[in-house]
């Protein structure tokens, strides 16, 4: 067996995570679909994240607007404030910040939940109760995370821009209609589409990494804590890596 150098253990983890992801794809298509568990997870993962995502989104839009205003005034383009905030929020800040918060809330709770199910033999118990625990627990959660994050990002973007509208009107005076016209006139389809597509990958990353860490939890209660913790760390890093990849791909495809 190879020695446990940091590089080795990184490659080991990366290999196991890829295997886990392929297992997900394979199990996803095989029948006995866990529909009701999937819907329950959509509720738990999506709906329960709404207040947090809404609050942070609102503050993000408001603060961004207030911070940008002095520079915009300096260059004499204050009227462009809604446009610049709109582009920043929709293309980058909205998806990434929402995904990071999602990773913190959902990644850790999936990691801890599956981790404690693993160490208390609940996953084994499911298997001997005529249930494929991978489908029941992992597939449902990963799918729910993949589908819920894009929706949360859209909502967060909207709330952010509303925060920005309030930010604009703290000092200036821009009507509601004018604000939204300025935002949307400056957003092209090619701004929105790549940003939307990458959120599915962010959601998938949070779901699969949370499940991977939990499902492979070590014995003992400290193993559960470590799973939850590393689920957040790894999925946060993964979000930035995917973001980097996404910008390269859209650049090559000429979507910029």
């Amino acid at each position: 067996m190879a020695k446990a150098t940091p590089l080795n253990s990184f490659l080991d983890q990366a290999g196991s995570l890829s295997k886990f992801s392929f297992r997900f794809l394979w199990q996803w298509f095989k029948p006995r679909y866990e529909g009701s568990e999937f819907l329950r997870q959509c509720y738990v993962i999506g709906y329960n994240s709404l207040p947090l995502i809404g609050l942070t989104g609102f503050i993000m839009g408001l603060v961004l607007t207030m911070q940008l205003r002095p520079s915009m005034i300096e260059y004499g383009v204050e009227s462009q404030l809604p446009a610049i905030v709109g582009i920043s929020v929709v293309r980058e800040i909205g998806p990434v910040i929402t995904a990071l918060i999602f990773a913190g809330k959902i990644g850790s709770s999936i990691g801890a939940e599956l981790g404690s199910m693993k160490v208390t033999e609940q996953i084994d118990a499911m298997q001997v109760s005529g249930t494929n625990p991978f489908k029941y627990l992992v597939v449902s959660r990963v799918l729910a995370a993949t589908l819920m994050l894009p929706i949360l990002v859209i909502l967060s973007d909207a709330i952010s821009l509303y925060g920005s509208y309030i930010g604009v009107n703290i000092r200036g005076n821009t009507s509601f209609n004018l604000f939204w016209t300025q935002v949307f006139d400056n957003l092209a389809f090619y701004d929105v589409l790549p940003a939307f597509i990458k959120t599915f990958f962010f959601g998938f990353a949070v779901g699969i990494i949370g499940c991977f860490k939990g499902y492979n939890s070590n014995k003992g209660t400290e193993g559960v804590g470590r799973s939850a913790n590393s689920a957040v760390v790894v999925s946060s890093i993964m979000i930035f890596i995917l973001d980097l990849l996404a910008v390269q791909i859209t650049d090559v495809l000429g979507f910029n």
Binding site: M117, E121, Q122, D124, A125, Q127, V128, S129, G130, T131
Partner: protein, 259 residues
């Protein structure tokens, strides 16, 4: 009487019923260089309570996890009701395992579900076509067997250790299994609660005429619940006999368990 030759063991095994419900032959299981089971053999007859006695880490849990297909042995056959477990596909395995109850060492109650939902889970998942009314009756009957009808709407976290063990037992009973596997049923319980659980196990065995494989190193459990004892040592079935027989055994490796 001490036997090390596997073939002799099986010939001399105490036979209570005449048909074996489980036949384990030449089972090997290793984790990398850790050879946990080395040529293990065991028969379980109908209506019989066999205790597998072994030190902690000797591979007792690995053995019963192989029996229900949670682990795959490297070699050997495990026939349960005439079907060789390691060779079955997922659907066939589910069918056989529906007749085998498994009481986990850590109970494995689902934290996020109520007692009722915990008990309903195996019923619904094994594709048994039952109406809600029948499900309710079965849940209440299983809870009655363990004397905990009043906990039906509670969450596992609200229960004491002994109650959780009983609920876990009720959950394995709900499918009316023909074989029950107990993984250290009294470990982690105080001696009095432990004895109550053992008594419950014996009563249930009598009531439903199940066969049980009990893994333990609790001598109370061994004395009260066993028709036959198998000592698991160095991955093998090292000795085999009734409590009275093994207690008289002079082999120091057997003796250490009875001191």
């Amino acid at each position: 009487m001490m036997i090390t030759e596997n073939k002799t063991i099986l010939k001399d095994a105490v036979v209570k019923g005449d048909e074996p419900v489980m036949i384990i032959r030449n089972v090997y299981k290793s984790f990398e260089n850790n050879h946990v089971l080395v040529d293990f053999n065991l028969d379980l007859y109908k209506g019989e309570n066999v205790v597998v006695l072994g030190k902690s880490g000797s591979g007792k849990s690995v053995l019963i996890k192989c029996i229900v297909g949670l682990l795959k042995p490297d070699k050997g056959t495990i026939e349960v009701f005439g079907k060789n477990i390691p060779e079955l596909n997922e659907a066939e395995l589910d069918q056989v395992i529906a007749r085998v109850g498994f009481l986990f060492q850590s109970n494995a109650l689902y934290d996020s579900m109520t007692v009722r939902e915990n008990l309903e889970f195996p019923l619904r998942r094994h594709w048994i076509k039952v109406t809600q009314e029948e499900v309710n009756t079965m849940v209440m009957n299983a809870l009655e067997d363990v004397g905990l009808e009043h906990t039906v709407d509670m969450m596992p976290i609200e229960l004491s250790g002994g109650m959780r063990k009983r609920i876990a037992l009720a959950r394995t009973l709900i499918l009316k299994p023909d074989i029950i596997l107990y993984d250290e049923p009294t470990t982690g319980l105080d001696p009095i609660t432990g004895k109550e659980i053992i008594k419950l196990m014996v009563d249930i065995q009598k009531k439903y005429n199940t066969s049980s494989l009990i893994i333990s190193h609790d001598m109370n459990c061994v004395r009260m619940a066993s028709d036959r004892i198998v000592i698991l040592l160095d991955g093998k079935c090292y000795a085999n006999g009734t409590y009275a027989e093994l207690k008289k055994n002079e082999d120091p490796k057997v003796k250490q368990f009875f001191e």
